[in-house]
């Protein structure tokens, strides 16, 4: 029972992580809420967009192994 439960949890997480890293669009989309949140609390829109673009750029130029997303 223990192995089944822990195995199932691990499988779900692996699918989630692998799926989340599968394309740059998904990676970008999954990070969007943190920028939206900054905008909601009143951080300057331009600054938010700048940060997002900077991070997107870094993500697309890095090899897969170095990407944090």
């Amino acid at each position: 029972m223990t192995a089944w439960l822990i195995g199932a949890v691990t499988l779900i997480l692996v699918v989630l992580i692998v799926g989340g890293r599968s394309s740059s669009a998904i990676r970008r989309k999954s990070e969007q809420p943190k920028y939206q949140f900054l905008a909601s609390i009143g951080v300057d829109q331009d600054a938010v967009k700048q940060q997002q673009m900077k991070e997107d750029e870094a993500d697309t130029t890095k090899p897969n192994s170095e990407r944090k997303l």
Partner: protein, 871 residues
């Protein structure tokens, strides 16, 4: 939450600052009052007589109100206040209804918190860890959680899954899963008995922290960090992985509070491994949060005090979680469970992690609230007071736990661990004062300093993020995966109850039916049931566990491990998670009812170093005048382990072999041991005149008035005295055992008669004494004065054997005049002083100092002596 379609947010969204302020102020009330409860509880460890005259101020009830007040009065209000502030920013939508908010406020604070505190203090509670408020209050809290979901669920539902920031997920998950988990720990154990109920209760013990406190505290961290740094968190995706892992694994942890119990071993192993897995999740979450602070801001943002609170909370979250994972490992758990180590752990979690996060969240939003005062200087003071107070308390209690665990394994008397803990408990109180000062300073910082500008808190509802290529497909994938994982979270939540509570309960049910012995008396009488209820409402189960675990230390000290069938009628079970006093699962027959009553009236009458509270309100001013409540409690205590005892073969009494005493008894050492362990009953001068000793039945033995041979002293110390309150002291270290035995022998004095006091010759006294003795005493004490008369078997304790015990003339006269209350020895008021002297002379002549078969001195009759002058 709508997965497919996201509604456009309204253009004007404001924070309801009235509800934020109301819950914030209520949180302060909850914090200060609960901390005061905690401080009183702590003081009582060292001063058990403090506030001990009334039921409402007894240790157990204050302890219940302390933990429940922290959970609901403080943290509950702080989290709700934070939600009123944060949810509009997280969802860009307003809350459902202000009126609903005020209903929730009233229900939570007036009905649940104030009502719960009052009912507990007046003796209405349930002995379930983290669920002590009675069922009526539990219903109010569950209803409040439903209102909480109604209040905040709609804005979350309107916000798409792919758009929701992680803090919102934590708030939504915390509210939803707490609503689901709460009845399992607070209501089900009232309906499911014993071991089966313990499985459900164990889940809630952990879910209260893991599913209620942790998500809200983590949400605050994910909210405050970017709000202060004005930078995004390090990785939103991994923050979501951490979120899912929390809800997938945390519900599986709960049974780790009952490892080595009679719950099925498979469930125990699941909880053990899930606890370790949980540590992985915490490392992920904490890494992401700390990177969000240090990498994004190069650490400069810690100058902001609310963020400093949050940063400390995050660091302590890592420490306490790793500690929790280690504690769940069975080999380590067998060592530290039930000790103050666990109390240190829980304070680190509830203050260091949860309260620091709540304080960070509240102070963050208060600095932005319009028109209120806010003192950053006082806030900084409160931070340092709390850091110092918590560090002192954690270090102190951890040390105390290690000392207790070590002493429990050394087979020393239980009271040694209490004595060793006293300095630690005193220091804990001091650290508690520092913490209380920190709490007061924290609350004060909200009423001091410059006033914020007026206005309203409006949420910027414009879209911040540009559309990107592949947006639609990514949106679909994220929405689908999050919705699926949310479903899996619910599924694992259900699985946790199936795997860790329902399935074990089914197995236990079958096991109980199979293993319950046919002769076991399981049902309790009405008196015993009333006693169980009284035992529960006064918090006895928080110092005395009622389960002997399957560990060597437990088996050695308390006997046979508790099996599931033994508690099958306990609603709810009172297994306990802490031992300040010894386990009581095998209490039946261990002590006399008189001992229990005197101990209940004032434990220090019998155990001078005890820190157990007194319960004088169960008596009419005297330990020998118990109320029915006291009798009910003692009746209940006598049921603990009774079914098992009834079905066990009688143990043949051990044959006592007196040991040779070493030369040169060290009476000084023996006196110290005597004062520590024996003087409560026998009195400081060993004359049995202490209040506790006189209240016992039979009264405590007058050690100073009798000369005792080696054998009875050693036998009593080794085995106790059946029929009396004298317990065995075979847990004493051998050096102390020898020392106290020698001291008792040295203290005993039978004296001699001054020639001027002797009213007749030896021979005459002998013959007169024989006649009196044969007339009144031989039926019990026997013709050979060896305590084996024809009626001796009727009495416990057995009649004295005058081969081993030599009375002084004074003690003999007192006994013959006053009887021995509680024993078979009656008073003989018609005996004259001369007869008493003669009888005593006769009895004394048989003393040989040991249980030997030699004959006493030749009797007067055989020697032909006359009675001259005596009747």
């Amino acid at each position: 939450m709508s997965a497919a379609r996201v509604q456009t947010p309204p253009s004007d969204v404001r924070v309801n600052t009235r509800l934020v302020a109301a819950h914030t102020l209520a949180a302060f009330g909850g914090l200060i009052v609960s901390a005061l409860f905690g401080l009183l509880v702590s003081i009582k460890f060292n001063a058990p007589a403090f506030l001990s005259q009334h039921g409402w101020s007894t240790w157990g009830r204050l302890r219940y109100d302390h933990t429940q007040g922290i959970l609901y009065g403080w943290l509950g209000n702080a989290f709700i206040a934070f939600m009123y502030y944060a949810v509009p920013y997280l969802t860009r939508r307003p809350i459902t209804s202000e009126r609903l908010g005020w209903w929730l406020f009233g229900l939570w604070n007036v009905a649940a918190v104030l009502g719960g505190w009052t009912l507990v203090l007046t003796g209405h509670s349930q002995p379930l860890e983290w669920a002590e408020f009675p069922l009526l209050i539990a219903s109010c809290i569950e209803l409040s959680l439903g209102l909480l979901i109604a209040q905040f669920g709609l804005p979350f539902m309107a916000c798409g899954a792919a758009e929701l920031y992680v803090a919102g997920w934590y708030l939504l998950g915390g509210a939803t899963f707490t609503f689901l988990a709460y009845p399992v720990g607070n209501i089900v154990p009232q309906l499911v008995p014993g071991a089966m109920g313990a499985a459900f209760s164990g889940l809630w013990i952990h879910d209260a922290v893991g599913i209620f406190v942790t998500p809200f505290a983590t949400a605050i961290a994910y909210f405050v960090i970017p709000a202060v740094t004005r930078k995004p968190i390090y990785s939103h995706f991994y923050s979501m992985v951490g979120f899912w892992l929390l809800f997938l694994v945390y519900p599986l942890n709960g049974i780790h509070h009952y490892v080595y119990s009679s719950l099925p071993m498979g469930a125990q192993h699941v909880s053990e491994i899930a606890s370790i897995y949980q540590g992985v999740d915490v490392v992920l979450v904490v890494t992401n949060l700390l990177l969000s602070i240090t990498v994004m801001t190069e650490g400069a943002a810690l100058r902001d005090v609310p963020l400093r609170f949050v940063w400390t909370s995050v660091v302590l979250y890592l420490i306490v979680s790793i500690q929790g994972s280690i504690q769940a490992v069975m080999s380590f758990n067998s060592f530290i469970h039930f000790t103050d180590w666990v109390i240190a752990h829980s304070h680190l979690a509830m203050i260091g992690f949860a309260s620091f996060a709540a304080m960070g969240g509240l102070s963050h939003i208060w600095q932005r609230m319009p028109g209120v005062r806010c003192s950053r200087r006082m806030l900084a003071w409160s931070y340092w007071l709390l850091v110092v107070g918590l560090a002192l308390m954690f270090t102190d209690l951890t040390g105390a736990g290690l000392v207790q665990a070590s002493l429990w394994r050394q087979h020393l008397p239980w009271i040694e661990s209490v004595r060793a803990s006293e300095p630690y408990w005193a220091f804990r109180t001091a650290s508690g004062v520092v913490l209380l000062a920190g709490f007061v300073a924290f609350a004060a910082s909200f009423f001091m300093g410059p006033r914020n500008g007026s206005g309203e808190l409006r949420v910027n509802t414009t879209e911040a993020t540009p559309q990107s290529p592949g947006e639609g497909r990514a949106h679909l994938w994220i929405t689908t995966s999050y919705a699926t994982t949310f479903g899996a979270g619910i599924g694992f939540f259900v699985i946790s109850f199936v795997a860790l509570a329902i399935y074990p309960a089914i197995r236990l049910h079958a096991q109980i039916a199979r293993t319950t012995p046919s002769g076991a008396r399981m049902e309790l009488t009405a008196s015993e049931k009333r006693g169980a209820k009284l035992y529960a409402v006064d918090g006895c189960a928080y110092c005395h566990s009622e389960q002997v675990r399957f560990t060597d230390a437990d088996k050695w000290r308390f006997g046979r491990p508790t099996e599931a069938w033994e508690t099958q009628n306990a609603f709810p079970q009172m297994w306990g998670t802490r031992r300040i006093g010894p386990d009581l699962a095998r209490e039946t027959g261990k002590r006399s009812n008189d001992w229990q009553l005197v101990h209940l009236y004032n434990p220090r009458y019998i155990v001078p170093d005890s820190m157990m509270p007194s319960y004088p309100w169960f008596f009419h001013g005297d330990p020998n005048a118990p109320t029915q409540d006291a009798l009910d409690i003692v009746a209940y205590l006598n049921t603990l382990g009774r079914p098992a005892a009834q079905t066990q073969p009688q143990v043949k009494p051990a044959v006592f072999l007196p040991l040779a005493l070493p030369n040169g008894p060290d009476v000084g050492d023996g006196r110290q041991v005597f004062l520590k362990n024996c003087s409560g009953c026998h009195g400081v001068n060993a004359a049995g005149q202490s209040p506790g000793g006189r209240a016992l039945r039979p009264v405590a033995f007058d050690l100073a008035g009798f000369r005792l041979a080696d054998a009875p002293v050693w036998r009593a110390l080794e085995q106790g005295v059946p029929g009396s309150s004298m317990p065995a002291w075979n847990q004493l270290p051998s050096s102390e055992f020898s020392a106290v035995a020698q001291y008792v022998e040295a203290m005993g004095s039978s004296g001699t008669l001054a020639p001027s006091e002797q009213i007749a010759s030896d021979a005459v006294l002998m013959e007169a004494g024989r006649r009196v003795f044969e007339t009144h005493c031989v039926r019990c004490h026997g013709e050979a004065l060896d305590g084996n008369g024809p009626e001796a078997d009727r009495y416990l304790p057995r009649p004295a054997n005058f081969h081993e015990i030599q009375p002084s003339y004074e003690a003999s006269a007192r006994v013959l005049h006053e009887r021995v209350p509680g024993s078979g020895m009656p008073a003989w008021p018609l005996l004259t002083p001369a007869e008493i002297q003669a009888t005593t002379f006769y009895m004394r002549s048989f003393y040989v100092g040991g249980p030997v078969a030699q004959q006493p001195a030749t009797s007067a009759e055989e020697s032909g002596m006359q009675m001259g002058g005596l009747k």
